[in-house]
């Protein structure tokens, strides 16, 4: 063991408060220390060269540097070791600046502490072992899950940089919720006008493979090397042959509520979800098609000019490999029927915001004319109730859905444009219009479009004389109010989806209780999931409007590009390692590992022990803290090293 100790003056940042010469002299008394020097600036070139010279000349095999925080220069000094031919993990830094000289005034006390810190570092460094980071190949393909605007944007960004992308969409078409929208705030431009070109671009992009009507079934592997099983559900329509003429959809005698229009109208058993759908190819709903169920009908098959109806088609499971995954599974509206007070689905004219989007949409069930569902009449008074399923702890939705304020204002404007004589009332709690041009948008709704904002939640909606009566309050006035309305639009809160939760389990990424995916760090790693190599974009992470969704999607794409720009990934060697001789197979480590990095391994004698997948391990050390026989150790922070570090403090001679 040959330990070299280097104490940095850091100009006089350290030496002003710490007797660095004394500390260096003390270090020479410690076991294994063969040289100790002070350096003016250890991080400077001369400083680095001195350290390297000592390593070479004295044959040092461990290095302690007393300087600034390891958060500042650990990487610098690790490189110094590497350049001198030493393993970079044989280094221990003692923080003599941030945690000593800068915070202590009493020179003697600071020097004594510095000596202790060096004792501890020497204690620990003596137990350090060389560590080798392993390298894994990086697969350059990217999987994007979800074909809404987030998925589309992310896929295009990655594909545009020349990398291969596979996009998997659960429904028969891409477009997601944005495709349902009529106009979008804050500019009120047409959603379809900005979205459909992107959809087409995606479908025709040479680097993108699109799997609609498909689901991710199983995911294994780790960053750079994911293996994914994708189930392509049988459309029963041959995508090669079909020209998308839509003749079949017109002939189909079966009718079912149209998902795309949220049940506001019906579609056939063979249908194209909406006119701009991509791919523009029908799908047959196996659950209602009488041919599928009873082998009767088959009209579509008869009428199809290209013989594209393929009842014999089976689900197909693809096995693909990817280096990175972007999850962009979007959102749903929460189940508002828990609000019995709002009519429980009893009143046809109490509708959700997304339904209203369809009613407003020119391609929607009413052809863009505002007519209420019950009798098709134009409503005169339209009430919008905000925060239905948002900011409501009692219904388990304490968070803000963040877009309702904006689209409520949008509805007010669009409604007034469609029906200039209508009155629009918006029952709200607060207006959250924080982004660029948003506040102005809301103001415009009030000032230019005469939207009536009533601050207060509606307590009840009931029917009286054929009209819907809203019982509310005007908290600004401090008075209960009542409104008779013809159409009530609920600004229903946004929630994560059950299918996202199921997917999160497959991907082993974490999600919160509402079904939103959890980012790795709320501020600094907002698009990384908890699992390396898996990124998140859009409303599957939290309620989000379109601009933010697109921004996050591009951000996720850039993270992916950063990842796959490497041919090999170096995994940190500061990961847990199992000493299989000591492991007794209690698997407590497996239970607590937040990253599912631990698995069972069966030894030749049949006994089961734990094994760490170093590519998945993040090095938190929970496993080694819970392992009773200390069989699993976190490299760089083993019990042995920490004990030795503490003993360094407890057993050495004072000054």
């Amino acid at each position: 063991m040959k330990i070299g100790v280097f104490i940095c003056h850091c100009g006089n940042n350290i030496s002003a408060a710490v007797g660095v010469e004394l500390v260096a002299r003390h270090a020479l008394r410690l076991p294994g220390v063969v040289c100790a020097h002070t350096i003016h600036h250890a991080c400077s070139e001369p400083g680095q060269l001195l350290i390297q010279k000592c390593i070479r000349e004295k044959g040092l095999n461990r290095v302690v540097i007393g300087a600034c925080s390891p958060r500042v220069h650990e990487a610098t000094f690790q490189r110094v070791l590497v350049q001198a031919g030493l393993n970079p993990y044989l280094l221990e830094l003692a923080n003599l600046r941030e945690q000593c000289s800068w915070v202590h005034e009493d020179r003697e006390a600071a020097t004594r502490k510095a000596i202790d810190l060096i004792d501890m570092a020497v204690g620990k460094v003596a137990r350090l072992q060389p560590l080798l980071s392993s390298k894994v190949d990086v697969n350059k393909r990217t999987l994007v899950i979800g074909g809404g605007i987030a998925g589309i944007q992310a896929a295009l960004d990655v594909a545009d940089s020349g990398h291969e992308v596979v996009l998997v969409e659960r429904t028969p078409t891409i477009g997601g919720n944005m495709a349902r929208m009529d106009k979008v705030f804050p500019t009120l431009d047409c959603s379809a006008c900005i979205l459909t070109p992107k959809m087409v671009e995606l479908a025709t992009h040479p680097n993108i493979t699109l799997h609609t009507y498909s689901e991710v079934e199983q995911v294994s592997g780790f960053v750079g090397n994911f293996k994914v099983q994708i189930r392509k559900k049988a459309r029963l329509v041959d995508m090669e042959k079909c020209t998308g003429c839509g003749a079949c959809t017109l002939k189909c005698p079966i009718k079912a509520p149209a998902e795309f229009n949220l049940g506001l109208d019906k579609r056939g058993a063979v249908y194209i979800p909406f006119p701009q759908a991509v791919p523009h190819i029908p799908v047959i709903d196996k659950s209602i098609c009488t041919y599928v169920l009873k082998k009767k009908c088959g009209l579509c098959q008869k009428i199809c000019p290209t013989d594209a109806i393929a009842f014999e088609q089976q689900d197909e499971v693809l096995e693909e490999e990817f280096g990175a995954i972007i999850v962009a599974t979007g959102y749903e509206l929460m189940d508002w029927t828990v609000y019995g007070e709002y009519g429980h689905g009893k009143y046809k004219d109490v509708i959700t915001s997304l339904q209203y989007e369809r009613i407003l949409s020119a391609s929607g069930p009413t052809g863009g004319h505002i007519r209420r569902p019950s009798d098709g009449k134009e409503p005169e008074v339209i009430a919008i109730i905000a925060c239905v399923g948002s900011r409501d702890a009692a219904h388990g939705r304490p968070y803000c859905s963040s877009v309702c304020c904006m689209y409520s204002a949008k509805y007010a404007m669009l409604t007034r444009e469609h029906l200039p004589n209508s009155r629009v009332y918006i029952f709200y709690m607060d207006i959250r219009a924080y982004s660029k041009m948003y506040e102005e948008f809301v103001q415009r709704a009030q000032e230019k479009y005469g939207a009536n904002y009533v601050r207060g939640r509606v307590s009840k909606v009931f029917e009286r004389n054929g009209r819907l009566v809203l019982q509310g309050a005007d908290t600004l006035l401090g008075q209960p109010v009542e409104l008779e309305a013809d159409l009530v639009v609920l600004a229903v809160g946004i929630t994560g989806t059950a299918s996202t939760i199921a997917l999160a389990k497959k991907l082993n990424i974490s999600h919160d209780e509402y079904g939103f995916l959890t980012e790795s760090h709320p501020k600094l790693r907002p698009v990384e999931s908890s699992t390396p190599g898996i990124f998140i974009a859009g409303a599957c992470q939290s309620p989000k409007d379109i601009p933010l969704t697109v921004a996050q999607a591009s951000s996720a794409a850039s993270k992916v590009l950063g990842l796959i720009s490497h041919d090999k990934l170096e995994t940190s060697p500061l990961v847990a390692e199992v000493n299989i001789r000591r492991c007794v197979g209690c698997f407590r480590c497996l239970d607590v590992c937040p990253f599912s990095a631990i698995e069972e391994q069966v030894l030749r004698d049949g006994s089961k022990v734990a094994r760490v997948n170093p590519a998945l391990c993040q090095g938190c050390g929970l496993c080694s803290a819970i392992c009773p026989p200390a069989a699993i150790a976190l490299s760089g922070f083993t019990d042995d090293q920490l004990i030795s570090q503490m003993e360094g403090l407890c057993s050495q001679n004072p000054v």
């Binding site: 001789r581 000591r582 007794v584 209690c586 049949g606 009773p628 026989p629 069989a631 030795s644």
Partner: protein, 323 residues
């Protein structure tokens, strides 16, 4: 008692064809003691005993980790076992930890009225010279060549039995006799509270004295059904160097603290560690204190609810009782 014993023998005779070995109690070296027996043949069933001395927690023989397959049982052996209420907690805990396989276990359960702590007779009579014992529900008469003494059974019960919370086997395939109802609520952690009436330094001194006696025979660890690390026990290793070789109060204390922390949330209060201690150190108090705190913090009692995650293996973002 004798009725139960007969029922037990019948039950075991019924169970034996299904298992390769039945673990029960048999005669010990004197009338005050019993010893675990491993019944493999029908003719051995008569060796079984059931009396007020059957204190051993037989669950300790179950974890395959403790005894490598082939040395106590073969890997595929199905085992029958007699479990008292308190002992069954150990089995539940072992099942919870995934250490034993319920399918390879046939459990005979019964009600228990508490076991006699023969050391409580010491002082009234030399228990190492006893050659005859007469016992009924309430009274015990003990004879040596020179003396005899009679005592009230309820006074002689183990402390754990006096604080018994689970008089009936919690998990079983067959149950003998009628379940015993607890007549009143008993504070389960009395022994802990007694010690806590001392001041801080008095407590330190108390433990110093206790641990000074410890000879580190490791019987406390080895008898514990939850201590199944065996060879790999942290207390037997020098890398990492947690424990010191020297046997003195300081390092003995450390030895027992390590064990207590390894049992935190897992100890089922069977008290075997204290029972087997040849130096009469109340070692069970350390894990029992953990149990008390874990009960207060998380309403957790190890070995009473299979399938529930132990408190130190789980968390809440907002902890109800931790600020």
């Amino acid at each position: 008692m004798s009725e139960l014993l007969n029922e037990l023998k019948e039950k075991v005779a019924g169970v034996l064809p299904k298992v390769t070995c039945f673990i029960g109690y048999g005669a010990g070296f004197d009338p005050l003691r019993v010893a675990p027996v491993f019944i493999r043949k029908t003719e051995d069933i008569d060796r079984l005993q059931w009396n007020r001395f059957c204190v051993h927690n037989l669950a300790t023989y179950l974890p395959p980790h403790k005894y490598p397959p082939g040395f106590l049982f073969e890997a595929d052996e199905k085992i029958g076992i007699l479990l008292k209420g308190c002992d069954s907690r150990s089995v539940v805990q072992l099942l919870q930890e995934g250490i034993i396989d319920r399918r390879k276990l046939v459990i005979i359960g019964l009600p228990c009225w508490g076991m006699i702590d023969v050391t409580k007779l010491q002082g009234r009579i030399d228990i190492n010279k006893v050659n005859r014992v007469e016992l009924d529900e309430q009274t015990i008469m003990v004879f040596t060549n020179q003396a005899e003494v009679s005592a009230d059974v309820s006074e002689l019960l183990y402390d754990k039995c006096k604080a018994c919370q689970h008089p009936n086997t919690l998990i079983y395939d067959e149950f003998m006799g009628e379940k015993r109802e607890l007549t009143k609520d008993i504070e389960p952690f009395t022994q802990v509270s007694q010690l806590e009436q001392m001041g801080l330094s008095a407590r330190a001194e108390f433990w110093d004295k206790q641990f000074a006696r410890c000879i580190r025979c490791k019987a406390c660890r080895n008898v514990c059904p939850l201590c199944y690390c065996q060879n790999q026990c942290l207390l037997d290793t020098r890398v990492p160097h947690w424990t010191k070789e020297r046997v003195d109060a300081q390092s003995n204390r450390w030895f027992h603290l390590i064990r207590a922390f390894h049992l935190a949330g897992r100890c089922t209060d069977c008290g075997e560690c204290a029972r087997v201690c040849p130096m009469n150190i109340p070692i069970n108090l350390l894990p029992m204190k953990m149990n008390q705190e874990l009960f207060e913090l998380f309403n957790w009692r190890a070995g009473t609810r299979e399938g529930e995650k132990p408190p130190l293996m789980s968390f809440q973002l907002e902890e109800e009782k931790i600020s």
